[in-house]
Symmetry: C2
Subunit: 192 residues, 2 copies
Amino acid sequence: MENLIISLIFKDVSFSKEEINLILNKLESVSFKKGETLLKANQTVTNQYYVKNGCLRTYFMDKSGKEHTIQFAIKDWWISDYTAFFSSKKAIMTIECIQDTELYIISRKNMEKLYLEIPKLETFFRKKMEKSFASFQKRIIASLSESAKERYISFIKTYPNIEQLIKNYHIASYLGITTESLSRIRKEITEN
Amino acid sequence: MENLIISLIFKDVSFSKEEINLILNKLESVSFKKGETLLKANQTVTNQYYVKNGCLRTYFMDKSGKEHTIQFAIKDWWISDYTAFFSSKKAIMTIECIQDTELYIISRKNMEKLYLEIPKLETFFRKKMEKSFASFQKRIIASLSESAKERYISFIKTYPNIEQLIKNYHIASYLGITTESLSRIRKEITEN
């Protein structure tokens, strides 16, 4: 059972029994109900979260009170306010559960310890971060060069099967458009 | 002299003589003239570049032929088409020198070798990537929630003293606005 968690999270990285115990001692399992908040803006960020199942949304609220969805997270994704997590600063974003959610928590301090104890974990997270970095770069390109329709199609590819779980205004705020524009885009796609 | 290069690039990380030699054997020094291209869209990306001095611009050209500036790089920055670099795929962006530029080149293959030979290098680059990751997240938030004026002010903070080196349409394409809007914003800031 415990080995299952490790192979779920770290896929095909192989660990010794001692290493597995080191990791399990630093992972904490938690559950949240739909609507609950995992992290609020202005809180100090010390943890990142692995999504066992469920669905979450990270958003930024601007000065006028408008919410901007920065990221969704579904099964097998990691989530945190990374800007704050990496610098141990206060969150600028809020993370809410938009479905009942089960997570594994790991703190920054414990991650740094594990990197020293098990160097291949540092390699694992470095490679994960390279992928996220690349996807952020793609999103910046998309925000500068693509139409809302093209960005919506990328969104569906990035988060398959997520549309039935989340509200239209969440998708619209992720794409930086109004819910009316989102409806128009969907209609256009269905008609073609 | 050679130690100087290492301490320039890796700041306060300390290395043994053997480690310094391992690194120097994998670094290549190159120079480019203003206007020359370091990397072109559709080329296979095998290298990343450390800027010793000069100024570069990474841009993406969309289907209509319009250029979108994704990143500038000045002294002490690293630059590449990271989406392609991390996956050893073909570049989607072009990198051009907008000033005479001196660089150190390191290949992906050599970086992976060095990570195994000198684990603290993996830690160094992991931490560097965490910072870039955080700055990308901030830029996504900015593109969704900030006005062009606010984004221009962030740009000046991110790239101090760069304005005199680059053309107005480069800055405008980085901000996703027209050069006319950029002039208006600058005028507004000067008047206040």
